[in-house]
Each structure stands twice: as structure tokens, then as C-alpha cells.
Amino acid sequence: MLVATVIIIIRMEKLMSAVLMTSFFSLIVSSIFMVLDAVDVAFTEAAVGAGVSTIFFLAAIAIVGRVSKPTQRKKQILPLAIVLCTGAVLMYATFDMPRFGSPDAPAQQHVVPRYLNESMAEVGPPNIVTSVLASYRGYDTLGEVGVVFTAFIGVFLLLGAGTRKSGIERTANPVAGVESMRQSIVLREVSDLVIAPVLIFALYVQWHGDFGPGGGFQAGVIFASGIILYALIYGIVPAQKLIPPRKLAYLPAVGLLLYAAVGVYGMLMGANFLDYDAVAHDPLHGQHYGILIIELGVGITVAAVMINIFFSFSERSL
């Protein structure tokens, strides 16, 4: 299925359909993650890959046009050879790989036992993924938030959002060809029904990340898709009235700073950077508060970045 989808995407000339196919691709990948029991990852892939990034692509198509220009097809031997070589190396490696899912695999034997056995006592959350992500490897996660923030700054630097006066009435819908969306009763009614639960679900995912799959990344994306859906149906102007772009532009930095502030607070209390033990009197409480706050920081940054990028794309396409 995956391979077939990819081939279809490459052969396609209508960009719109190609984008929809990439969304489909992400959905399959996400179900594969699901089968592999990586629920958190599946969650993210579904929200980011199938959801928000598809919308970004659509917004980009609104700017560049819907059909790709026919390119000259030269027979390119070298790229093909490189791809085949890479594939061959990958195949070569598979012969010596530990058996899939084997409990004896080194990946399960070395660091994982401590995560599995001790994390409840050391960190607290029943969801071990959250413990690893937010505490044991919290520094990496700070870096990931940095990546998201950098993407946002890059888009702003290049597209220059916030340069137009937001007072100008804009009627067109950001995604070309779907101007009639607002007129469609079915779409409007359904989205009216859906948007509020989506936002509430986002909050649930945000605060429930300790116990079940979820956390700041997923919640941020889900929250953003709720707002983006609203903007798609009702137009960008009401959405920007709801969330003023000027204020929204500050939020990604706020989230990142919130995350880092927890770490710096730990340092001021005499512990290492991002050591939440020092955040409260009791180490376990400290871990708990620390993780809650950094997850909030992640959520704020991710949601704000997604909405910001969407706004700046759609301002372009108008």
C-alpha cells in the first residue's frame, strides 16, 4: 500500500490530488505505528502528517497553482544508481538485525529495563513514554521544541507575516477553489458540531499525557487543527478576530521560554538543568509539576506555531 501510494504521488501531475494522497500516506503510516504499539507516535503522525501538513500544502497550492508544469524527462542514471545503492546497503544490514520485536534485542536490554521498572518510582507518570520524553530525555524534547520554534521563525522571516494591516476586510477563503465552503450548510453544521469537541479533546490530550497516550505535541497540533478548521469554514478574518495575529506571534517564544524556565528554575535551586526533582520539596511532586509545565510549554509552542504558519500562508494567498 505504502509503495503504491508513493508511486502514485510521484506520477501525479495534479498537485491537489497529490497532496491528498500524501495525507492518505500519512494515515497508513500512522496505522502501522498503531499496529507496532507506538500509540503516541501514531497519534502525532495522524495529527501532523494527515491533518495539519496537508492543510499547509493546500495553502501553498493556493499560492503556486494547482497543476505542476510538465518537466523534461531525462533519463537520469546517476540518481537511480544512488537510490539502488542505498537500498542495497539497507538490505545488506537487515541480515544481521535482531529479530523483530524480540525481547532479547539489545534495544530492549540496555537502558530500557530501568525505564520500565524504575520510572514509576523515579518520575511518576504511568505513561512511560511521557517519562522518557519529558524527564529522562527532556533535553532532547527541549531541542525538538527548538526545532518547531526555528521553523516558525524561518517562515516568518521569509514570508514576513504581520506586515499587512489586519484591519482590511478579506472575504476570499485561503484555500483556492473552496470559497463556497462557507455557503455549504452541511460543512458548516458539521464543523460547528466538531470544533468545540476538538478543542476540548486537545485540552484532554494535553493534561492526560501523564496517564495515556498524548502530551504537548499532540495536543498542540489538535488544538491548532480545531482553529484552522474554523478559519477554513468561516474565513480567515473571524479567525484572526478570535486570535489576534500580533499577540499570537509572541506565543511560540513564550512556550519555549516556559519550558526552559522550568530547567533554569531547577538550576537556581542547585540542581542540574531540567532536573525537576528540585522544582518542589518532594522529588516526585517536582517531577510531576515539572512535566506538567514543560508539556504546557510544548503545547503552547506547537499550537501557536501551527496557527501562525497557517495565517501567514493564507495572508500570502489572498
Binding site: A93, G154, L157, L158
Partner: protein
């Protein structure tokens, strides 16, 4: 305070970046960025002071011991690269305000400083980390911010250059990620020191071998080792003026640092050279890179592009040092990494000052600039001498070690070839100097004046440092020698 330094050196720039983005006033944002950058220089110096003589610092992020948590590990090599990134980055950011004034509208300046700080922070993060996956995380930040910085160039072609770099960089990063995944699959750890302990017993495992291959190709793309340098000339040519100086000094050098770290420390000398024979691959590619890129540089008429091609050639010297597999060679690599970063950043900065006045980097427009901008051109000439490798400049020191390394291996022909390649550098630098001093200025550039002092000072700091490190080599070759001995396991 001292104990927290490994975190502080990163946090200064990493935290200044989001704060900068919230300040609308470009001038205040610039001041904040400059203060943060120079403080991080101080922190790097302090760290170097601590590890001087071969000590190591290990700092546990989140208080979790490795391999469960992420470790920050600083030795002399990382401290040297830290100084490289922070010092040269700070010198560039100091002139950035002057350079941006004409280049873009003022409300975007804060965002530009933010991106610049993010790039600096991520390079610091890569340098200090002791965790393989963490390298990848910061590599992503540095790549993204670099693409944005390049794409801001005034020329429309900057966008294509940035996009091309984006594609190549993403392939490189993906390869590195595959390599790290493979290593984790076999060893179950991501900590670099732990990997170094656990990898040798799996040396015959094909997964490890494949991971080595993926890693080398991925990082070579990032370093722009010939023939994977495809993205570099355009990226350097079309990036904004002063930014080129920063990128040329830091981005490729930090990638080279990562390569040294992994080849010598993580995979180990035994595996990399005895089993995988990486030297047999690097040696011919480096030599070919040096000659082909130098030759192309000689025939360039755009000075920015000329210097970019020269960078490809100089990177060849650095990878050549690795391929020698002896202490002198590795010393040359590490020394040249520092020296070339300094020299090339200085050259690009002087060139930026000239472009600032001339609005062109074509060699014809530089005619007579030696008389109209004597101080800038003077600094350029000193740095040019450093690039060629004239005695009493920093460039001489690294080439000296490289030629020694070749002779040590009994490769006399290679030593001769290195001298010939230096003559090629004389050709392309001499071409510029000749035009600048001995050709009459064209009519439209008759009234060109010297640039502001705030730009001249950093230019001359680079030039003077080039001379200083040509005489006092304790920080460069001294550290590099000790590092080389440790990495190669000699003298332990």
C-alpha cells in the same frame, strides 16, 4: 556557577533567541543578541580553562546519569570548537546591524537576529553533547536556521540555493538518523561514550557496518566534502553578506567536528580505519577535492564564489588530515579547522565590507579598492596571506603539520602536491590582490570611501588573530596535538 557552565554556555544564546523574537525594536534585539553572544564566548573560554591539559567535564541533563539521561561532555576538542563557534559568531553578529541596515526592512531585523542566535545555539549544542541522538536534534535546528538565513539573501537565486541546500541537507540528516537508529538497534544505547564501549564487540555486525556507511555519507554531505559539495558554492554566494562569514566559519566546521568525534571516538580507530578503511576513501577524494576546487576557484570572476570554492578545497585539507591516520595529520585537521574558520570568516567579512560600498562582488569592480578602502583591503591581504599559508600566519602552521604528516607516512609525492596546491591558492588570492592594488578604479567607483569603524574593527581582529595564531600556537596546534594523541590512542 562554574559547575553549571556546560548548560549556561548553551542557554545564553538559546534563551536569548526567543526573547529577541519578542522584541520589535531591532536595535534593542541586536544589543541583547550581542551581549548574549559575547557572554557565551566568556563561558567557552572558562570551559577551555577548566579542561586545559586534557581534563573532561561531564554534566548530566535533568540529573539523570548516562546512558539513561543525556550527558553533556566537554573535552579540549569540544572546548576549542566552542571557542571557534562563539568567538567568530560573536564577531559577525557585532557587525550584523550595520550590514542589515541596507539589506532589509527594520521590523524584520529582530527575526534575523533570532535566527542567527538559534543557529549559534544549535552549533554549540552539537559541540557539547555526549549523546548521539541529541546531535541529530541540534543538527535539525542548525539546518533549519541556516536555510532561512541563506534564503534571506538579496538575490532571488538565494531561494534556489537555499532550497538545494535544504534537499541535500535533509538527505544528509536522514542518513545520519538512520545511522543512529542502527547503532541503537545493535547496542541499545544512544550515549556516545557508552556506544564506544559497546560497539567494538559488534564490529562484524552488518548493521554496524551499514550504519557507518550511512553516517559517513550523511555527515560528508553536511561538511561538503568533495564530491558532495554541490550545495556549498551557491549557498555561500547568495547568502547575505555578513552571514556568509558566519556560515563559512562555523557550520561546516562543526559538522567536521561531529565526523571526527564519531570516526575516532564512537566507532573507534580500529573499526573505522582497520576494518572499514575509511582512509582509503577519504584520501583520493580529498586530494581530488583540493585540486579540482582550487582550479575552479582560480577561474572564478565573482570573488564571493571564488572564496566559496576555495572553502571546498580547504575542507579537502581537513579531511586529508584525517585520512593520514597519524598524529601530525589529525593535528593538522583540528588546527586547520580553527585557522581556516578564522581566515575564511575574516575574508568574507572584509568582502562584505567591500560589497557594502561597491554593491558588487565582481572582481572587475574591486579594481583600485586598495587605495579607496586601504584598511579593509589591508586586512583582506593579511587574511589572504593566511589562506595561502605564508610563514608567520595561522595558515602556515596547519599546512606545516599536514606536509609533515605526509612525509611521516613516506608520501613524498603527496607533500609535493600539497605545495603545488598552495601555489594555486597564491593564484586565486593573488588575482584579487593584483586587481585591488594595481588596477585603476573604474569611473563609477572613484569616490568610494572606507567603511564604518564598527565594521573595520572585527575585520582587523580577524586579521590580527591570523597573525597571532601564526606565532603563538598553544591554543590551536597545542590543543590539537593533545587531542590527536588522545583520539588516536597514542601516548596513553
Amino acid at each position: 556557577m562554574i559547575y553549571q557552565l556546560p548548560a549556561i554556555v548553551l542557554l545564553l544564546t538559546l534563551l536569548a533567541a526567543p526573547i529577541c523574537s519578542m522584541i520589535r525594536n531591532g536595535d534593542i534585539a541586536w544589543k541583547l543578541a550581542v551581549i548574549a553572544a559575547w557572554l557565551s564566548v566568556a563561558a567557552s573560554m572558562a570551559l577551555m580553562h577548566q579542561v586545559w591539559g586534557g581534563n573532561e567535564i561531564s554534566y548530566h541533563m535533568g540529573g539523570w546519569p548516562p546512558p539513561w539521561g543525556i550527558e553533556v561532555r566537554i573535552d579540549e576538542l569540544s572546548a576549542l570548537v566552542l571557542i571557534l563557534v562563539t568567538l567568530f559568531g560573536s564577531l559577525v553578529i557585532t557587525v550584523l546591524r550595520e550590514s542589515l541596515r541596507t539589506a532589509m526592512r527594520s521590523h524584520r531585523h529582530s527575526l534575523y537576529y533570532t535566527t542567527f542566535l538559534l543557529c549559534m545555539a544549535s552549533l554549540i549544542g552539537i559541540t557539547i553533547t555526549g549523546d548521539a541522538f541529541n546531535v541529530f536534534v541540534f543538527l535539525e535546528i542548525s539546518s533549519l536556521s541556516t536555510y532561512a538565513l541563506i534564503a534571506r539573501g538579496r538575490d532571488r537565486r538565494a531561494l534556489t540555493a537555499a532550497f538545494r541546500y535544504l534537499i541535500m541537507g535533509t538527505i544528509g540528516a536522514t542518513f545520519i538518523l538512520i545511522a543512529i537508529g542502527f547503532m541503537y538497534m545493535v547496542t541499545g544505547t544512544l550515549n556516545m561514550a557508552d556506544l564506544a564501549v559497546r560497539l567494538p564487540e559488534h564490529a562484524d555486525n552488518r548493521v554496524v557496518q551499514a550504519s557507518f556507511a550511512f553516517f559517513i555519507v550523511g555527515i560528508a554531505l553536511k561538511i561538503a566534502i568533495f564530491p558532495l559539495h554541490y550545495w556549498l558554492p551557491n549557498a555561500y554566494t547568495y547568502a547575505p553578506k555578513a552571514t556568509t562569514a558566519f556560515l563559512a566559519a562555523t557550520a561546516t566546521k562543526v559538522s567536521l567536528y561531529v565526523m571526527i568525534r564519531f570516526i575516532f571516538d564512537v566507532y573507534g580507530v580500529e573499526f573505522s580505519f582497520k576494518q572499514m578503511h575509511i582512509d582509503a576513501l577519504l584520501l583520493p577524494l580529498s586530494v581530488a577535492g583540493i585540486f579540482i576546487a582550487s582550479l575552479i576557484a582560480v577561474f572564478q570572476s565573482d570573488v564571493k564564489r571564488l572564496l566559496a570554492w576555495s572553502s571546498v578545497a580547504q575542507l579537502g585539507y581537513m579531511s586529508l588530515g584525517i585520512a593520514m591516520v597519524n598524529v601530525a595529520g589529525l593535528t593538522a585537521t583540528v588546527t586547520h579547522m580553527f585557522n581556516h574558520a578564522m581566515i575564511k570568516a575574516g575574508l568574507f567579512l572584509c568582502l562584505a565590507a567591500m560589497i557594502y560600498r561597491l554593491n558588487s562582488s565582481h572582481i572587475k569592480d574591486l579594481a583600485g579598492i586598495g587605495r579607496s578602502m586601504p584598511l579593509t583591503t589591508g586586512a583582506f591581504a593579511v587574511l589572504g596571506a593566511g589562506l595561502v599559508g605564508i610563514p608567520l600566519t595561522a595558515g602556515f602552521v596547519s599546512k606545516w603539520y599536514l606536509i609533515n604528516a605526509a612525509l611521516e607516512n613516506g608520501w613524498v609525492i603527496l607533500a609535493v602536491m600539497l605545495i603545488i596546491s598552495s601555489l594555486m591558492a597564491v593564484a586565486y588570492i593573488g588575482k584579487i590582490i593584483d586587481v585591488a592594488y594595481f588596477k585603476p578604479a573604474p569611473a563609477q567607483h572613484k569616490d568610494v570611501k572606507e567603511v564604518a569603524t564598527s565594521i573595520l574593527i572585527p575585520c582587523w581582529i580577524f586579521a590580527l588573530l591570523t597573525i597571532y595564531f601564526g606565532i603563538d600556537t598553544r591554543l590551536t596546534a597545542g590543543v590539537a596535538g593533545r587531542v590527536a594523541e588522545t583520539l588516536l590512542g597514542v601516548g596513553l
